[in-house]
């Protein structure tokens, strides 16, 4: 119901969509300006970089609509005690919190992502085989789960820290910036970090590059398993944290 209520303010909705598009336009303009100066960026053409960015937009929009607002869990639910209300109901606590924090307006990014992907693949002469489609879909879901697992885990830390504000979320959010551009831009140590420690490279680069180039196909297919593992870890941390929850009333 909350999601529906949020959609009912037409002006709000339009402003949100408009300014979201503008923010993405800034990134696209940045890429366009960069490619007036170079033919290829770390081995990737403008169209390929566009393809990666278009892919990035889709799970990013799903994340913004579903998981991003979990940054409010500490202040509102754990310290604020709204979790008391949630726990009286016979449905998973995390699922309820998430449904209450849904932001369906953010889904416009999916449409923009599809448009950018379409334009980029047309200019590249990329033809979508059924296997490509399957990799794209599992890649989007896997990437979305990577976001989800990370956000659930970070939100759960508020059970221990009793942090009222948004804590370390800005650092995790800003790190997303690395996944907008081809991973080969970054030095080896950073690539290792973004693959094996904080798997941000799976948020766009590996699934998109897996579609574009054979050398990344294996990593492309690994996106969904990685997403499942990260999300599983997130759930585990949430369960552990929940066991510590004692309610707001002293």
């Amino acid at each position: 119901m909350l999601a529906k209520a949020r959609l009912s303010y037409r002006a709000d909705f339009l402003v949100q969509v408009g300014s979201d598009l503008l923010l993405q336009a800034v990134d696209l303009a940045f890429l366009a300006v960069v490619f007036t100066r170079v033919k290829a960026l770390a081995g990737w053409s403008f169209e390929e970089a566009l393809f990666i960015y278009g892919f990035f937009l889709i799970p990013f929009a799903l994340f913004n609509a579903s998981f991003a607002a979990l940054s409010e869990v500490g202040g509102r639910y754990v310290v604020g005690g709204e979790l008391d209300r949630v726990l009286t109901r016979p449905l998973g606590s995390l699922l309820q919190v998430q449904l209450e924090l849904l932001r369906p307006q953010a889904l416009n990014g999916v449409v923009l992502g599809l448009v950018v992907l379409r334009v980029a693949s047309a200019r590249l002469g990329f033809t979508w085989s059924p296997a490509d489609l399957l990799m794209a879909v599992t890649g989007v879901i896997g990437a979305w789960l990577v976001y989800g697992g990370l956000w659930v885990a970070v939100a759960s830390t508020s059970f221990w820290t009793q942090e009222r504000g948004i804590g370390f979320f800005p650092v995790f959010y800003n790190t997303i910036n690395f996944s907008r551009y081809p991973l080969t831009l970054y030095p080896g140590a950073l690539r290792f970090l973004l693959t094996f420690v904080l798997p941000y490279a799976f948020m766009a680069f590996y699934p998109a590059a897996g579609l574009l180039r054979g050398e990344y196909t294996l990593f492309g297919w690994l996106t969904l398993p990685v997403g499942l593992v990260v999300f599983g870890i997130g759930l585990l941390v949430w369960q552990r944290g929940l066991a510590r929850y004692e309610g707001a009333g002293a």
Binding site: A11, S19, V33, P170, V171, N174, T175, F178, Y181
Partner: protein, 263 residues
Amino acid sequence: MPEWGVYWGFARLRFFDLIANRTRFLIGVLSYFIYVSVYAAVYRAIYAGQASVGGLNIREALTYVAVAWVLRSLYTNTLDREVTEDVRRGDIALSLLRPVDYPWSRVASAAGEALVRAFLFTLPAAVVIASVYRVQPPQGLVPTLGFLLGTPLAFLVYAQLNLLVGLTAVFTEHTIGIQRAKNAMVDLLGGVLIPLTFFPGWAQVILAWLPFQAITYTPVAMYLGELNILRGLLVQLAWVLVLFVVLRRLWRRALDRLTVQGG
């Protein structure tokens, strides 16, 4: 108008308010380090096959990105959001009862914030970034002077722009769209993300006539010795004055409107 001491009070209040929350600054330093890392990587790739782009060599370009983001960490504030909140909650009516000028009190508190940010946030971020990336110091006394004088002017342009955006709340119900549009323009068209000399020629002509370049590109170009400091400072000063006049006019109209609403 009351004496200046009153506005110093606003600046001081904000200062002590902010230093109470230190973890926020730690997180901020880390965030700025991440921003610089992303864009420095893009710049390095741009220079992979060429020695000079837009009049800058790679060392200058890496210095540019570091100084631009460090400067951004200093002038950034949320005046636009706070003023919008004041208008929507009606708190602005209360502040009209006080014997201070509302826009000035806002700029003063933003100045207090910039002072805190300078010590707790900008300096540590600059140290961290400079220890990882090879950042050049300003080459000579004149560029140093240009940057030191350009920084407060950049703050004044940014703060007044933010205040303008916030005050539009008196006329329209929502300013979140304008806020986000402004943020996007400050970063892209102001030259935080990429030096303005990297843009195609026709775009540079347009960008030179917009206020955003006075916030980032102009002071950083003076730092690098790429821009005549007299010219740079005059351009910044001109925008400070233009925005000041626009702000006063908008504030007067806002006052009329607020009086009508208040009965």
